[in-house]
């Protein structure tokens, strides 16, 4: 065997599947395994406790545009689609508001020593606060308004993004600022052309994290007192013991959340295409 021969890795001969196709195939297989296990569990349990996947699909189709239970039990209107749009738009608005303020505050706290002295510790403290503690206050301050329901999402997104951005700004400043300054860059140039682009990958990560938890917070707020939304639907189904409908509502919101996360991740990838 030659030296070159030793360097060549051994590969089995056979069909080679392209990486992308393989990943999709395995993801489909994963969903199949999950549905299979679910079907098995459902077959051995009462339908009211664990309904079958088919039954859940049926309820999604039936509830999609109109929901009789909502009109009858809770004097509401609309179907699963309309209420999902409400929950999704509220969550997105909440995360957008919280993240915008979070980025601004995070950059300022990371860059200005006085603000860092004053706000760094309170920010760290806010990160540890369980968000649900705020809900009673939000209800008392804002009644049943949209802000009362959305307040937890705004707060959570703000705190998460502000804290993360602040840490990232400090790290980025340490590494890149000196290089840029040694090349003659001004403070404005450093902020605009060095620090801001370097922050984007981390900020997108924090926004995705806020979104992932935001869906749950929004739904809980709606369960506890919302007039519209997926949480309100879940509450109505709970009162009428319609398990399949409840699971259907959660799955629809989960699919929309997954699609939005994929969209945000793609946009982030496109913005940070300069990365290695």
């Amino acid at each position: 065997m030659t030296v070159e021969g030793r360097k060549t890795a051994w590969r089995p001969r056979g069909i080679t599947i392209p990486g992308g196709l393989r990943r999709v195939g395995l993801a489909v297989l994963g969903v199949g395994v999950l549905v299979g296990v679910w079907s098995l569990v459902a077959a051995g349990a009462q339908s009211v406790r664990v309904p079958s996947p088919l039954r859940v699909l049926e309820t999604i189709r039936a509830n999609f545009l109109a929901l009789e239970a909502l009109a009858f039990a809770a004097f509401g209107s609309g179907g699963l689609a309309q209420n999902t749009v409400y929950t999704v738009s509220n969550t997105l608005i909440g995360v957008a508001i919280g993240a915008t303020f979070g980025v601004v505050v995070g950059v300022l706290v990371g860059r200005i020593q006085f603000l860092r002295d004053v706000l760094e510790k309170p920010l760290l403290f806010l990160v540890t606060v369980p968000v649900l503690v705020l809900l009673p206050f939000l209800s008392m301050w804002f009644g049943v308004s949209r802000l009362a329901i959305n307040g937890m999402v705004i707060f959570y997104a703000f705190v998460t993004v502000a804290f993360g951005t602040q840490q990232a700004t400090i790290n980025v400043s340490n590494y890149f600022q000196d290089y840029a300054r040694s090349l003659g860059a001004t403070q404005t140039q450093i902020l605009g052309a060095v620090i801001t682009p370097a922050l984007v990958p981390e900020v997108i990560g924090f926004i995705r994290g806020s979104l992932a938890f935001g869906w749950g917070l929004q739904t809980v707020a709606e369960i506890l007192g919302g007039q519209v939304g997926v949480g309100r639907i879940i509450r109505t189904f709970l009162h009428t013991a319609r398990t399949a409908d409840m699971i259907g509502a959660v799955i629809v919101l989960g699919i929309v959340a997954l699609l939005i996360d994929a969209f945000v991740a793609s946009v982030g990838k496109w913005i940070t295409r300069w990365q290695e």
Partner: protein, 293 residues
Amino acid sequence: MKIPDIHIPEPTVARPQPIWWRRIRRNTFLSLLVLIAAWPVLSVVIGTSPTGYKYIPGPQDIFGAFKSVAGFWPGGLGAPSTQTGAEATYWGAILGLVYNSFVTSLRAVGGLLLGIGGSITLALLISWSKVARETLSFPAHFARMVPVLGMIPLFALWFGASELGTLVFVSFVLGSFVFVVAMNGIGNVPAYYDQYARSLGASRIRSYLSVVFPAALPRIRGGIVLAVTWSWTSVLAAEFLGKDSGLGHILSFSRFYGATNLTALIGLVVVILASSSYYIANRVLSWLTRWSE
């Protein structure tokens, strides 16, 4: 000739400041003082709600609400339950606060251990095989995006008001998140770590447990710390909706009656417990990963 006295001053050595003072910057201390001073002023200025409670309860309101916690003590140890007609006492309030804090903490810690332990074990087992990891990564990602907190009514339906239901719910909320973080952490360990260990004669399982998993721990650490904070949120959600004890139950009660002073008192206790657990978890994980940069 008289030699003039020359006064040589003794060298002055700056008195070292204590470490805790050096850690706290002056501005941080001032901001805290301003916050403490502004709180009672804001409380008075913002006013009172139609239910008679202040929108922002001041320190005296929070202290005043303390006695009402006696209503959440089931009775015993010299303080009978107020539900039997007994009067609320400070001793009863202390017992009520300790009892409900203990119940909530127990649920949080139990769910946390079950959720983190279960999800990391599962992630370790699945990550053993690359095919299994890739097969389950999509369903795991989906589980992370599903509004798990909103699934609490489902758990109430499956488990009723039992403690098992609360434990399973908390561990499910935390586990679905930590599982994805652990899978990513293990998947992102550079392959040459394993290759070096194997080339030195380590078996596959030994390399996996002694090299790959410890190398993944710093990457999983952030997820675990976040899970600690979320354990309190998920326990409160469970107690809010279907328990008759715990701090979440008191919060739900105070929300129903618009009692901001009781809400603030319980909120303060929850925040102290959550911050302490965050601090402890951070210290323990720092110690466990002290070898990393």
